[in-house]
Symmetry: C2
Subunit: 523 residues, 2 copies
Amino acid sequence: MIPGKGFVRLVEVQKPSLSNNTADAERLEKSLKDEIGTGHIRIPLSVVKTLPSNLRSWGFRAKAVVFRNRESWILIDLLPPESEKALLGAAIDIGTTRIEMALVNLETGIEVGKIGFDNPQALIGADVLTRIHYSAKPGGLEKLNRFVIEAVNQNLASLCQTHGYEKEDIYMVAAAGNTAMTHLFMGIESFEIIKEPYIPCTNIPGTLAAHHLNLEINENALVYLFPNIGSYFGGDLIAGILFSDLDKKEEPCLMVDVGTNAEIVVGSKDFLIACAGAAGPALEGGMSKMGMTAKPGVIDRVWVDPESRDILFHTIEDQKPVGICGSGMIDLAAALFVSGRIDIRGKFSEPVCGRRLIEKEGIKAFILVDKTLSGTGEPIILSQVDLNSLTSSKAAMYTILEVIVKNTAGLEFTDLKKFFVAGTFGSFINPVSAISIGMLPDIPLSTFEVLGNSSLGGAKLLLTSPHAFDRILNIRQSITYIELNVNQEFMNMFSGAKFYPHTDASRFPSIFTPGLPIGDSAE
Amino acid sequence: MIPGKGFVRLVEVQKPSLSNNTADAERLEKSLKDEIGTGHIRIPLSVVKTLPSNLRSWGFRAKAVVFRNRESWILIDLLPPESEKALLGAAIDIGTTRIEMALVNLETGIEVGKIGFDNPQALIGADVLTRIHYSAKPGGLEKLNRFVIEAVNQNLASLCQTHGYEKEDIYMVAAAGNTAMTHLFMGIESFEIIKEPYIPCTNIPGTLAAHHLNLEINENALVYLFPNIGSYFGGDLIAGILFSDLDKKEEPCLMVDVGTNAEIVVGSKDFLIACAGAAGPALEGGMSKMGMTAKPGVIDRVWVDPESRDILFHTIEDQKPVGICGSGMIDLAAALFVSGRIDIRGKFSEPVCGRRLIEKEGIKAFILVDKTLSGTGEPIILSQVDLNSLTSSKAAMYTILEVIVKNTAGLEFTDLKKFFVAGTFGSFINPVSAISIGMLPDIPLSTFEVLGNSSLGGAKLLLTSPHAFDRILNIRQSITYIELNVNQEFMNMFSGAKFYPHTDASRFPSIFTPGLPIGDSAE
């Protein structure tokens, strides 16, 4: 953010005289246009009402809070030039599972508070599909909308209270979510999204009045909703591209957002190709359903002891282990593979596993934690069924990456200058483990960069960067969205990727012969 | 109005398919843009909410109610394509004294009802100045605003009821008034209008939400307020120019609006020069203060009997005479002058008036109606004081016309192809009488055209003519507003015009020698 070039501007309005007796509102409009460099700005009646007395008592200077719409700018409020009133923006990532919000000081661009909470719509259904079906029932849409808006209102209020602000200090909101979540946030009909030919109600909601959305913040506040590309490519991804600067890169980079679905964008300033993994049945529900949610006692890291070749692990808050989370599962699979405990077909090797391998109702399972050491009194195991599911997921991820990077963009993985991993789940993945099992391509570790919640990051960026509106329009226009075509070729590629790390082991030169320790993951 | 090219449009929206899976709102937007030929149209959340189910149940066809703002169009509502719901617009002339409103069917352009009522702000002050002073007192502005808005709401409701409509059928409003009335209608600070350097709060209010103005009509309705040129040249005049087509004329024409003030515009498609008579002290309060308001028994026409050379008159509804109205006064002065009863200096001629001339408290007065024939029991008279006042007014009017037509536009009166007389008062003036006394220039009678309430006419026009928005912007941009400079030259011209018809009688060749009857005024 260039200081003073965000959405708060100091303006000086020409003083009127007999020779310049245009109206106050028109002189203010001219000053704002000059300051912003825009052709049109809308001044609301609420500001016009008291403009003459305000301008005169403020010496024809003012602090203007402005915002953008598609083509034009909108003045939200006008304050005394020396006003020290807090001017805040709220960034919201409307996740299907979790909603995260940040408060940003519009004048400094600094984040002043953050909060996260479960999306209360989960009470109606954990996934998008269930909620959309529910929205078609009488009163269903209104209920889903009320759930999310009330939760946002409550959490914004508590966030403000915690940090010593008023709700009325929030003048603008930037919100990003997938297409369905964006629809439900606005309370607009959503059911066509899931019916062929998969038509959203709107892709470009633009800038709306906060009170039209029943958001209880400043009465003049405006809300920008990130646009969608289509039913399966939402504003959260656009926000992610914005946050990663993918659209500004000189050389090709890739971003993968591993959230409820896996979504991938590859590109640079010259092109953008996107693909949403939800279209691939192998990944349906996939990655994020693996393992349990992070909480004390959950195993989040697993590695092979270089001396003993034992499988070691770490639990959250160093509690007695109670289960294993998704990123822990990937670590575990990698550890089992590099120590030879699972073979290249993804099957447990009895000789190597030894007495750690049991059979339960005819299904083999590896005991990671004995029941005597477990926090639940039950052993913590990885069954062949769990492992098969992980194998499918990692193979699907690799195949989709291959389809988009090689087959579609015509690049090699090594052409990628950056490999951004976004999303809450993605943030915890150890790239070394992911490469070891052939889930991510074997490219230099320095290529990988964890973005965290890139949807929230993009929304925050927008609050202090008027130019982001143009970038978003450009991203929307330049992006090519490909539907994943699950044909015979895909299935062949997928079959190869189900091996550890791959049938074509030459693609993973940095993975040592199975059986050797992987030191990096043991930090 | 070109049928179907107003603010109600039938649109056909492309059906979605797997190959055209853009969102419903975007396909509607495209159809509307194509239909209207605009670059941008705003679609409100209220329409987006139920768009998917509506489009599908209406077979992807719809009736769209649209309106304009400065640069862009706005969709107000979307209805079934075969909807027979009444779609109305309300035109409002916000007069200082009287408010007139008309309901227009937006699909046919036909006026379906009309109502007029006194501006209730008159309870606070009859003139603009008193009201603006009052608006600066605590609560004053709110009260003035409430008065006018409540009266408009009540009268719109009763107008709708009378003609079998609902208030909710009104989707748009076009309102025109002078600068002060427009300000008070919006409830915006108005006091700088009357303080040097006379700065309006806003000159271009544009299109506002009806509910922001507390207008109780359709909840999505929009209100267009005609822009002002400045504190002394309001939207009512712009509406008048629009109504008279002055801005489209091939050759120069003139429009004079004789309302509370006299305002004059001369011009054509090539130029527009305007002048507001309020700046001329001789006309202050002037014309419209003469005589009484029209009601039964009021003398509205006066003429000389060609045979007897008696002064004859007509009263409204043929009741016994109770007084004389403004246009009757002009007729009377003309009749007295052409019959030789007043001389070229505007003084009563004792020999010609005979016993009809009396002296009361040292002031001469002409008895028009003897007390025995009067409806009040008192004689109806015209005193020398009344006559002097009328002489000043008619001289001021002529002088202002001369200044603007000759000195400013560099034209002769005979260059004017049309001389439009607008305003309620102006509607009743007999041009023959006005020429006879030297109030209006001596040009062919066919040149004169009475417009009636041109402010209301312009507002009505706008409701069915989207192109009027562009014309208004052009009028605002091309108009030259001249301040009347009451200098020595003006006073010299004014002195000459105080004679009957003028010191330079050659300017009025069609006025016969005083003493001869003027047949035309007797129908």
